[in-house]
């Protein structure tokens, strides 16, 4: 079982307490009415789906129930970093080096 560090509980917790909530750092457009169909599709459906490091939202649903962000490698399943919602992204190049 993976152990995931929850930034709110400040410790590593078993993965079955967590739920993935998709890609992180997707800003909702402020002018939703003015969006073209194509722009809406891009915001709403299209995700980066990278092979490798991926910024994701996770929720500690069976713990503190808070959403937080994580940087995870989609190939190895390794969590490089987890951080609270609203905090800046960790630098992907710097984090990637120590793998």
């Amino acid at each position: 079982m993976l152990l995931i560090h929850c930034p709110y509980c400040e410790e590593e917790r078993p993965e079955i307490e967590f739920a993935n909530a998709g890609e992180a750092h997707i800003a909702r457009p402020s002018d939703m009415d003015g969006l073209s169909d194509q722009a809406f599709e891009e915001f709403f459906f299209i995700r980066s789906n990278p092979k490798g490091l991926h910024y994701e939202r996770w929720r500690h649903i069976h713990g503190c129930a808070r959403f937080f962000n994580a940087l995870r490698d989609t190939v190895t399943d390794r969590f490089v970093a987890t951080y609270k919602t609203g905090e800046p992204k960790p630098d992907i190049a710097a984090e990637g080096k120590d793998q």
Binding site: E11, E17, H62, G63, C64, R66
Partner: protein, 182 residues
């Protein structure tokens, strides 16, 4: 005249008593889920008579009540003396949400020297005394059910679960407690 309906305890009469572990239903108790911001805490703590903990995995006792930290703005308050914590919070003017969950939850007491091992039968948390000392409490999972686990003393745990899950949780504990002797 019709007889008055009586609310039945979902686990009434259930008991597991093996070498080194006892599993029994806890008495009914009023409970409340409290949500509030940091600035509201002093007033709410004063009204409840128990200081709401602000650190993860902590619980606090006072005024016959247990307050358990669930999240950065969320607490479970259990009243062991049949008070009404939600009514106490209603008298406070600061912004908060207090929801009475007394009838949603029920609790199971697991006690004895093997209690941590029995709970680890269905719960993946590290329950060693270093990681989860007396007074520690958290929401977690037990088998397929969500529970709130409180270590009252070294050898005594309180498991809060939803009433509808209590038969499952108790049955799981019963099965986990079969081979504790020795």
């Amino acid at each position: 005249m019709a007889d008055q309906l009586q609310r039945a305890h979902p686990l009434s009469g259930r008991l597991v008593s093996n070498a080194g572990v006892t599993v029994e239903p806890a008495p009914e108790a009023p409970r409340m889920i409290l949500r509030a911001g940091k600035s509201a805490l002093p007033a709410l703590s004063k009204a409840l008579g128990v200081k709401l903990p602000t650190k993860p995995k902590k619980s606090a006792n006072g005024n016959g009540r247990i307050a358990i930290w669930l999240g950065p703005d969320e607490w479970l308050v259990i009243d062991l003396q049949s008070g009404d914590p939600a009514a106490d919070c209603a008298a406070v003017k600061v912004l908060h949400s207090a929801v009475d969950v007394s009838h949603r939850n029920t609790a199971i007491i697991v006690s004895g020297t093997h209690s941590a091992a029995v709970i680890n039968g269905g719960c993946p948390l590290d329950l060693s005394l270093d990681a989860f000392p007396a007074g520690a409490a958290t929401r977690t999972v037990f088998g397929k059910a969500e529970i709130i686990l409180l270590r009252e003393t070294e050898d005594r745990f309180r498991i809060e679960c939803w009433r509808s899950f209590s038969d499952y949780v108790f049955g799981f504990l019963e099965a986990a407690a079969v081979d504790t002797d020795g």
